[in-house]
Each structure stands twice: as structure tokens, then as C-alpha cells.
């Protein structure tokens, strides 16, 4: 059974989003997504200070046989990146929700995150895609 923590929000393209106390957002890929992609071999992260629109591709995760774009869930500016992934991309496989985080953004507009999915909706999506 794939792990879908209750405290996070999700996207259709299999990113998870954690709203931090300071209003910034931490982003990674879900446990389900890392399982589909297999052993990670490389992660291409955005640069600090890059600004992205919602749903713009901003990073790439690469396994031996697949490469997958990561989409920015909400318009924002990159304020932190997980540099450890450059040396150890397998952290995404080990723990997609903690050591495997990708980057953090500061939203550029007021946002109530309506476009993001609840854990229940995401679980449903995963279920429907496996059929």
C-alpha cells in the first residue's frame, strides 16, 4: 500500500506539498511516484531565486529508464533546494516525504491552495491510475 500522509496536500502530477509555519511550501514527489519511477539516479533542481508560475516545469527527477518533470504547484520563488540530492538522489526512494524533499518556494500571491488535492482525493487518483 502506498504511503499518503494526511498532513500534506497533493497534485495530479504526483507532487506533495507541505505548508510550513512561515507560509512557504516544501515540495517533493510522492511515495507512489518514486515507486513508479524506480531507482533515482539524478535530480535537476531549480536555482535559488528562480520564479515559476503555477504548473510550470521547474525540476527533473531521473531514474535509469525514465525522466519526469516536476511542476511548480503554485506561483512562487525558490527559497531553498535540497542540495544533498545531488550526491544522494536515492534519498527520494528511501523517504520521499522527508529526506527526499526537492525544493521550497515562497508563494508570490495570496493563496488558499484550492487547486491542490486532499489526501483522500489523491488516494483516489492513485487507485484509479492503477487500473
Amino acid at each position: 500500500m502506498t504511503d499518503i500522509p494526511q498532513e500534506l496536500k497533493y497534485t495530479k502530477s504526483h507532487e506533495w506539498v507541505r505548508v510550513e509555519d512561515d507560509g512557504s511550501l516544501t515540495i517533493g514527489i510522492t511515495d507512489h511516484a518514486q515507486g513508479l519511477l524506480g531507482d533515482m539516479v539524478f535530480v535537476e533542481l531549480p536555482d535559488l531565486g528562480d520564479e515559476f508560475e503555477a504548473e510550470q516545469d521547474c525540476a527533473v527527477v531521473e531514474s535509469v529508464k525514465a525522466a519526469s518533470d516536476i511542476y511548480c504547484p503554485i506561483e512562487g520563488e525558490v527559497i531553498a533546494i535540497n542540495e544533498e540530492l545531488e550526491e544522494a538522489p536515492e534519498q527520494i526512494n528511501v523517504n520521499a516525504y522527508h529526506e527526499g524533499w526537492l525544493f521550497r518556494i515562497q508563494p508570490l500571491k495570496e493563496n488558499n491552495f484550492d487547486d491542490l488535492m486532499s489526501p483522500e482525493d489523491y488516494a483516489e487518483l492513485v487507485e484509479s491510475e492503477s487500473h
Binding site: D39, V41, F42, E62, V64, K65, P89, E90
Partner: protein, 496 residues
């Protein structure tokens, strides 16, 4: 085994056989290197010692002869790699293309010293025009992917020439080769994917919805990568042309219809041919290929240069002076001429009746192999359809019930002395094998392949681990791809 024999069989790199004090006497001219260097400017000279292997001639010959023996090849194994047309490469093509007058000619040699090679290239242009039903051919692209690039660049040049600049999209089926979308992007286009229906044909309703004034063109392979003929091709051509777009034909599967159907008759405006497939030039361990272009009348002015023309007495190069709207040059001269010559020789040996036989027997072999495998209980992806020169088998049942996937079957086939079919392409079909036997395989070889497939399935039922750990009989066992990608080791001399 004695220590000596074990050492001989060990995995040496050529660099490990090297000794910097060994000299390759007879192969290099006798000259005083340091005296020469005194005449060159100091700032330009190499400061460090050049490192290359210093090995005697016999040991080099032996090293590479042994390495060659670690390969599967058409000359040694049945090689049913779908979409790649691994058929016999006649030896005459290789021998004759290396005649001194042909292999020694400098590309800038005077036209009076070039009439022989130009005659060959001119004849080849005409033969390819005839075989494909196109109005003109340019031989210059150096591979299928470069032919694709040039073809889409011509579509762009055509629209720009007509001041029709709002066309920004190229339509590509979801089952297409990865080169199609990659090429469209290289030419500055957005890619629109269209789905394929359950019968393997393009979804016409979906196509209808995405065609519009923004459509620059569509890229199709026919027969498609699913191993079936696109039956509504004329309708698709009409739809695209009505919207002002053009049709691109990816000639990857031309072997299926050579002499039977001409892409020009299907309504295509531009096509590329893979001579290393249909015209049996060597695959060479991954190239060189050759990807000549054919065009309909409206794209003729945009063809890449040079081409060869003939006035009844003399052959001459057609350059951008005569072809001012050309998309330009794709290589320093005229592409892979030594490969084009091999294709020309093959075409002469086959002749027109031999060309039609290619499609006849490639199709016969594919349909026979499909039937035998279906009768043996393997699941065919499109059982209602005729196979073209290739077909798709899905091992999803075996994967689900036995836990052995298509890659496990592929690796075990190697143990039985068969190169594996193309696996996991097209992506639409789960656990798939794309199988292309080609016309040059005998019935006995096809039958033996079926027997091997049946045996492997038996093994999957009884000893699934055997498949998962295969191969066993090859120079190496399954390789660690993850390590290869994480801890890159691409250069013997590199030190981090």
C-alpha cells in the same frame, strides 16, 4: 584451467595491455618529432605527455577480434529487433563500396574526377524517387533522425515562405518513435499528441478536434509502430491538407511496403528513408545510417543541398545557387556517401522485382511467426489485424501470473542464442515485444525461435528465478544500470 588461460580470458581494456616504451614501428612514418616541434609556436604545443595505448599489432588485432566475439550480430544470430529491420547485409555491398576510386576520392576533387561516384548517386536518387513515388530526392541526411529534422525544417520553411507563420504545432501519434516529438521541438514546434484506438488506427475524432490553422503538419509512420497499416491514411491526408498542413512520413517501416505501396500515393509531402533498414546498409553497432529525403512537388525548392544533376553528358552538384530556398547544408559535404554507395549496390542487386520481394517475404515471415506464437498460446496485441513486417506480442499475462516480465523473457532468449526483440516499445502496450523477423530469415529459424519461446515460458512456470537472473551463457550477467548511472565511469583515464 591454468593461470595463463584464465588471464587470457580476463576482461582487459586495451589500456591495460599498454607499455609506454613499446613502439608501433611499421605503421607510422619515420620522423624526428622534436625537430618538427621547434618550428611550431611554443604557445600552441602540448605540454603534458599524450596518453594512448602502446600495444603491438598482433595484440591489438587479438584484443579487438576477441571483443567482436562478445557481440550478437546478424551474421551470427537471429536478430528480430522490431522497428530496426535487422536483415542480411550482403557482403558485395561492402566490398564494392571500398573500391579505391570510390573510397579514396576527396570530397572537393574536381568534377572531372568525380563522374563515377556522381553517376552512382544520381542513379540512387532516381531509384529512391521511383520506389517511394516522390518527385525529388536529396541523399544528404546522415541518419533517420537527421532526415526527420530536415523534413520538418522543410515544412517550416514552406509555411514561412508562404507567410503562413501562425502554424506552430506538429501532430504526433502517441505510439510514435521518440525521435518524432524530439525533432518537432528542434524545429521550434509544439507537439500535439493524438491517441490510437483499440484497433491500432489513429483516433479520427481526436484528430478532428486538434487540427486547425495552427497545424503545421503531422508526422506518421505507416505501417505504424504498432505493426499494422493505418487504413484511413487517405482520409487523414485530406484532413491535414484541407487545414493547410503537410504530412511527414517516417520511413522506419518502409521494409513492409517496398514495391507494394508508395508513400507518395498515400498523400505524403515529405518522407525520409532509413537506408540502414530497408536498403540493408550495415547497422555497424549503431551507425552510420543514412536518411535520404523524398518530397512532393511543393517542397522541392526547400530540399537540403547538395544533390546531383545530370544534363545527359555531365553530372554536376546542385548547390544553394540553383536551390536558393534550400534549408541548407546538413553535413560538410553530402552525407554518408560510403553508406549511400552500399545502398545503391544493394538496389542494383535486388532490382525492381527484388524490391517487391522484400515486402512480400518480410510480411510472410511476420504473419507466419505471429500465427505460430498465437497458436502456442502467446497473446498478440492486435489479434484482429494482419501483421505488417512486424507485430506486437504482450507478455502481461505471464507477468501477472508468473511474475516474469518482458525483460526477463528477453534476457533468457539471449541464453538460447536469439537477440531479444524490441522490449517496452511502443509504450502503449504493456510488457510488449515488438518482433520483426525480416525477409532474409528461413522458416527453420522462425520455427526454432517459437520453440525457444515455448521453452522459456515452461521455465517461467517451473523456475521463475531462472528467468529473473538470466542470462547465464553470455560474457557478463545482468548489469547494474543504477550503479552505471549514479557512479559515472565513462573514461578510463579520468580521475575525480
Amino acid at each position: 584451467m591454468s593461470k595463463r588461460i584464465i588471464e587470457q580470458n580476463a576482461e582487459h581494456l586495451i589500456f591495460e595491455l599498454s607499455d609506454k616504451n613499446r613502439r608501433s614501428s611499421s605503421l607510422a612514418p619515420d620522423v624526428d618529432i622534436s625537430a618538427v616541434c621547434e618550428n611550431l609556436p611554443e604557445f600552441a604545443l602540448r605540454k603534458d605527455n599524450l596518453e594512448l595505448p602502446q600495444v603491438a599489432e598482433l595484440q591489438v588485432v587479438r584484443h579487438y577480434t576477441r571483443l567482436s566475439q562478445k557481440n550478437f550480430s546478424i551474421d551470427t544470430h537471429f536478430y528480430p529487433l522490431g522497428s530496426c529491420t535487422m536483415k542480411y547485409n550482403p557482403r558485395a555491398c561492402n566490398t564494392l563500396a571500398q573500391l579505391p576510386g570510390l573510397s579514396g576520392r576527396h570530397p572537393m576533387a574536381h568534377a572531372s574526377m568525380s563522374q563515377g561516384v556522381m553517376a552512382c548517386l544520381f542513379d540512387l536518387q532516381n531509384m529512391l524517387m521511383e520506389a517511394t513515388g516522390m518527385k525529388q530526392v536529396s541523399l544528404t541526411p546522415m541518419a533517420g533522425a537527421q532526415g526527420e529534422f530536415a523534413g520538418v525544417a522543410m515544412i517550416r520553411a514552406y509555411h514561412e515562405h508562404n507567410n503562413d507563420t501562425q502554424r506552430s504545432e506538429i501532430i504526433v501519434p502517441d505510439a510514435a518513435h521518440g525521435t518524432n516529438p524530439a525533432t518537432a521541438v528542434m524545429c521550434g514546434y509544439k507537439v500535439k499528441e493524438i491517441p490510437t484506438n483499440e484497433q491500432g488506427d489513429i483516433d479520427i475524432e481526436a484528430l478532428e478536434k486538434i487540427i486547425g490553422p495552427q497545424t503545421a503538419g503531422i508526422m506518421l509512420t505507416n505501417p505504424s509502430t504498432l505493426g499494422v497499416f493505418e487504413r484511413k491514411i487517405k482520409l487523414i491526408a485530406d484532413m491535414i491538407h484541407k487545414a493547410g498542413g503537410l504530412l511527414y512520413y517516417d520511413g522506419a517501416n518502409l521494409n513492409a511496403i517496398l514495391g507494394k505501396v508508395k508513400p507518395g500515393d498515400m498523400g505524403f509531402d515529405v518522407i525520409h528513408m532509413n537506408l540502414h533498414k530497408t536498403f540493408s546498409t550495415p547497422h555497424g553497432g549503431g551507425g552510420p545510417g543514412a536518411g535520404p529525403l523524398g518530397v512532393s512537388e511543393r517542397l522541392q525548392p526547400f530540399l537540403p543541398v547538395p544533390m546531383v544533376a545530370y544534363d545527359g553528358q555531365t553530372y554536376r552538384w546542385v548547390t544553394e545557387k540553383e536551390q536558393p530556398l534550400s534549408i541548407g547544408h546538413l553535413s560538410a559535404w553530402m552525407g554518408n556517401i560510403s553508406i549511400l554507395l552500399r545502398a545503391y549496390i544493394y538496389a542494383l542487386l535486388l532490382g525492381r522485382e527484388g524490391m517487391e520481394r522484400v515486402a512480400d517475404y518480410a510480411t510472410l515471415n511476420a504473419n507466419y511467426l505471429l500465427k505460430r506464437l498465437a497458436d502456442a498460446g502467446f497473446e498478440i496485441a492486435f489479434p484482429e489485424r494482419r501483421a505488417s513486417h512486424e507485430f506486437i506480442l504482450t507478455l502481461r499475462k505471464e507477468a501477472k501470473q508468473l511474475g516474469t516480465n518482458a525483460m526477463d523473457f528477453a534476457k533468457r532468449l539471449l541464453d538460447y542464442g536469439y537477440h531479444a526483440p524490441t522490449t517496452y516499445f511502443p509504450l502503449l502496450v504493456p510488457e510488449c515485444f515488438l518482433i520483426e523477423p525480416t525477409e532474409t530469415e528461413s522458416r527453420d529459424d522462425l520455427d526454432a525461435f517459437v520453440e525457444a519461446m515455448i521453452k522459456i515460458r515452461d521455465e517461467a512456470e517451473q523456475l521463475p528465478d531462472l528467468l529473473k537472473n538470466a542470462p547465464f551463457e553470455l560474457p557478463v550477467k545482468r548489469l547494474d544500470d543504477v550503479k552505471a548511472a549514479r557512479e559515472l565511469d565513462l573514461n578510463y583515464y579520468y580521475q575525480d
